[in-house]
């Protein structure tokens, strides 16, 4: 493989991916109609993740690409995870403080801001 001639992915693979993506969509939609408790969330996110990976790896050719591309693709996601995780280090412990120590006087309260809109 050279840059000038990147691998030509057979149309069959594209077709297959397309079918799988649509099936996953159907599955995702179907699962959302059922009540599976917390599993709903996991399933939805997992399916979205699989769909994303299929598109990245095959349609966007990451699978056939150089390590440098892998690094660039990974970077975006790693940074996103850093941002979300470290922010959650605040949000998840704001409530836990009171709960864990059973003391309400610790700085944080479990209080997200209230809403002032009058209810009907």
């Amino acid at each position: 493989m050279t840059v000038l001639n990147p691998p030509i992915v057979p149309r069959k693979i594209y077709g297959l991916i397309w079918v799988v993506l649509l099936l996953l969509l159907l599955l995702n939609w179907g699962l959302a109609q059922l009540n599976l408790g917390p599993f709903n969330l996991v399933a939805t996110l997992a399916i979205a993740f699989i769909q994303m990976m299929l598109m990245l790896l095959y349609l966007m050719h990451v699978r056939y690409n150089t390590p440098l591309t892998w690094v660039f693709v990974a970077a975006g996601f790693i940074w996103l995870v850093v941002m979300i995780n470290l922010s959650l280090s605040d949000y998840l412990t704001r409530g836990a403080v009171a709960g864990r120590f059973g003391k309400s006087w610790i700085h944080e309260t479990s209080v997200p801001p209230p809403v002032y809109l009058p209810k009907p």
Binding site: G95, G99, W105, T109, V111, P112, P114, V115
Partner: protein, 310 residues
């Protein structure tokens, strides 16, 4: 013009923070010595035109690099731990605090004492007592900064934050708003007046309005109709509020939260957010109908509800 060098130390926390500061000053001074003295020496010794041995030195480079990576790291970790420990002292009031409410608004501080006394831009406290402030803001973010006690905390609209201090010395100290809050941010100042126990009692009785905070809260509790549901024989089943404050409350969704000020605040303004286990979402929201002052009064009242029936 006066020429102050160090801020007044009026609490133990102040000493603690100053010690940390001096620790950092010393290490910084040491670092400056270690860096700048050789630097200046090299500048003289090796300046162009000055004869010196300039043959490439064969220092153990990698070992030096590792040394000056690890060493600062160790020093940093010491200060991290020191700072964090002291931080927890600042953030956690010791038990037995007297509680005062503070409401920030553009551009003044409103203070509510449990005894019912209210003041603006001034905070009278007795010396030696631990004072815990429960603070909220009516509009934007403010910050309650007490330099002499080395403590500050943002006052955020929509929630309660707390701050505590214990004055060691009688005197008058600065209070600043140190979060930018608009036009008169720099005039949102005030004084903390630390009185002796006796003077404080005298001050309290002199300005006593006749009703305590909890009594005002009780009046509101009736006026707003809370009592209709939360007292005895009502049609709607509502949880009794006796002994609620500070206790763990099991919620409908299985979690347990501590009934602190924030929880009660949410129960009043945003009842749908946390529904008490075994009850339904029947309580109306009082958002827009109670002011921040009134909320704090209601909370003060609910706090006083021991196990006895109101």
């Amino acid at each position: 013009m006066t020429f102050p060098i160090l801020p007044e130390q009026a609490s133990k926390i102040a000493t603690q923070t100053d010690n940390l500061c001096w620790g950092l000053v010393s290490i910084s001074a040491a670092v400056c010595l270690i860096v700048f003295v050789p630097m200046i020496y090299f500048l003289f010794k090796y300046r162009n035109g000055h004869p010196a041995d300039r043959s490439p030195s064969n220092l153990p480079q990698t070992r030096i690099e590792i040394a000056w990576t690890i060493l600062p790291l160790l020093i940093f970790m010491c200060f991290y731990v020191w700072g964090a420990k002291a931080y927890f002292n600042i953030e956690r009031p010791p038990p037995g605090a007297m509680e005062i409410n503070v409401i920030g608004k553009q551009w003044m501080w409103k203070v509510q004492h449990p005894e019912g006394n209210r003041e603006i831009d001034e905070l009278h406290v007795p010396v030696g007592r631990i004072v815990k402030l429960t603070m909220t803001s009516q509009d934007v973010i403010h910050d309650f900064f007490l330099p002499a006690f080395r403590t500050k905390q943002d006052v955020v609209p929509g929630r309660y934050t707390t701050e505590w201090f214990q004055a060691d010395k009688i005197g008058t100290y600065h209070l600043f708003c140190s979060e930018y809050c608009g036009t008169s941010h720099s005039h949102m100042e005030g004084r903390v007046i630390v009185l002796s126990q006796a003077d404080y009692q005298a001050w309290l009785t002199e300005g006593q309005p006749g009703t305590t905070l909890a009594e005002s809260g009780e009046r509101l509790f009736r006026e707003l109709g809370c009592s209709g549901c939360h007292l005895g024989q009502s049609v709607i089943r509502a949880p009794p509020l006796q002994g609620l404050f500070g206790k763990p409350v099991p919620l409908n969704d299985g979690t347990v939260v501590i009934a602190d000020e924030g929880y009660i605040r949410d129960s009043i303004l945003l009842p749908a957010k946390q529904i008490t286990g075994g009850y339904t979402n029947d309580m109306p929201s009082f958002a827009g109908r109670v002011s921040e002052d009134e909320l704090l009064e209601l909370i003060a009242y609910i706090k006083t509800l021991g196990s006895q029936s109101p």
